[in-house]
């Protein structure tokens, strides 16, 4: 079944500023989907329309078969939203915050208490249940918004940059938890993120949005296969004065002179690189990927999109 279907969605502000220029998007049930785009691309507007926070100008949106225009209650019943900005009552104990949202979704007080306890425990917030929202740390606030979005156990969870400003440890534990609810509970997850590593690690499908238009849409694996090159950082036993010339690989010496940065074009084997380095007497101690491949692909696509606009 289709979880989300967006057709020719347009959003304008003041009749002439286009936030969305007729986007089409389909997300399958159970998918882990990411919407990538630079700031101001239209990601949050698209999510805002789906979750009824933004009125659309034209086009259609349906969630699990419920049309946004004719069955908004049906659409909302299927959705949980974790917005980009903190939007809970900072002067209320967090247990109440979660229970209130359960109540807004028609869950009785007794059941709401049970569910709030489960999700607050699951997100390591139960000990803080009587703390006011504003007293929590940034990471805790993010986790509170996830607990709040899950308390009515929606079929689809939408997260707008959920790990922004969260430390690495908490980010990883949030990744694990999101993967778990996607794989074990079958919850469809739609994520927007600035951390492209996050999209590559978590998501199966991706749409890249720029200037209010979808410029690429498909499986993460397929898009990655289109990436033109990958960059590696080699840690050398002996520092080099100048970068070796080994076409077709582009090489650069990094600030730390015993580190060599190498671009490996698509279709070329990294073994060839090592053969050449060995022949030149350069010994590699260790190696790591510099940027993730999706980032490189993303930047190339957005660059092309900007050129097209100009």
């Amino acid at each position: 079944m289709t979880a989300l279907c967006i057709e020719n969605l347009v959003k304008t502000y003041n009749d002439d500023v286009f936030a969305l220029r007729g986007i089409d998007l389909t997300v399958g049930e159970g998918d882990f989907f990411t919407l990538l785009g630079p700031n101001g691309a239209g990601k949050s507007t698209a999510i805002g329309v789906v979750s009824s926070l933004v009125n659309k100008t034209s086009g259609s949106v349906s969630v699990f078969g419920h049309d946004l225009d004719s069955d908004v209650v049906g659409v909302k019943s299927c959705l949980g939203l974790v917005p980009q900005e903190f939007n809970f009552n900072g002067f209320e104990p967090i247990l109440n915050t979660v229970m209130n949202v359960a109540g807004y979704n028609g869950i009785s007080q007794r059941e709401a208490r049970k569910r709030a306890e489960y999700y607050l425990k699951r997100l390591d917030l139960w000990d803080k249940r009587r703390a006011l929202g504003r007293e929590l740390s940034g990471g805790m606030k993010r986790r509170l918004m996830i607990a709040r979005a899950l308390v009515h156990e929606p079929k689809m969870l939408i997260l707008d940059e959920p790990t922004a400003g969260v430390d690495i440890e908490i980010r990883r534990s949030m990744w694990d938890y999101l993967s778990e609810i996607n794989s074990e509970h079958g919850t469809t997850i739609i994520l927007t993120t600035h951390y492209l590593e996050e999209a590559e690690a978590l998501c199966r499908n991706v749409a890249i949005i720029d200037g209010g238009q979808i410029i690429e849409n498909g499986a993460v694996a397929d898009l990655l296969s289109q990436a033109m090159q990958e960059t590696f950082v080699l840690n050398l036993y002996e520092p080099l004065a100048i970068a070796p010339n080994i076409p077709p690989f582009e090489t650069r010496i990094r600030k730390e002179s015993n580190e060599l940065e190498v671009d490996v074009p698509k279709g070329h084997s990294i073994s060839d690189l090592f053969d050449v380095l060995k022949a030149q007497g350069i010994v590699v101690g260790s190696m790591r990927t510099k940027s993730n491949r999706l980032e490189e692909f993303f930047l190339r696509l957005v660059g092309q999109s900007d050129e097209a606009v100009q």
Partner: protein
Amino acid sequence: MSGWSEAMSYWQLQWTAYLTIVRKEIRRFTRIWVQTLTPPAMNAVLYMLIFGGLIGSRIREVDGFAYMDFLVPGIIMMGIITNSYGNVVSSFFGTKLQKHIEELLVSPVSNATILAGYVTGGVARGITVGLVVSFVALFFTDLNPVYPLVTLCIAVLTSIMFSLGGLINAVYAKTFDECSIVPNFVLTPLTYLGGIFYSINMLPPLAQKLSLFNPVLYMINGFRYGILGVSDIPLWHSFAVILVFIAILGTIAMTLLNRGIGIKA
């Protein structure tokens, strides 16, 4: 699922959501009772002490009642009006400002349920303040409503009307200043000139006629009729004015929520 059970589950959902909003609102004003419940009691004591006791003792009877007895229904009503309005305007504006209105907007709660929930919260505070002020008034006079049902109906309907007004104000307000303009420059003059302290029969003919354009006059007189059995205007006029205003303000409030004005992009 049959249409009937779908409809039932829809109404059950709305009912649960309504109770949740009402509980949240009551928790809010009772948690900060020092700010919400004690100032009206303090004001009432001062009004009754100064106007009812010190000055009122030198005033002859009004409509056949001692001035203190005449004054008390107006003081109670003033508390109901200002607190019903103030509760909804501050709560709904705070909800907008902190953006947790989005919790409601993304949930399957209908706009009618949101409106009913906030208005009930305003009525809960208005009536609670009314009871607190009534209790305080017992130290100054006897309170034995002649028509208890009329008293209750006028109090609740007036509270509904001003709660609706508070919600409309909160929808349009962008700053705290804009939340206080209407209470300070519209509500307070209308209330003070609405017959709390005097009978309009004491005014010159022109002022009497002008007073009839003040809607608060009808509420205070309706409430006074419930408690004392006297009023400057017929009771049905009071009910008619309040119900017409509820219909108008309710329609405006629903239209604003349905269009998402002030709360949606």
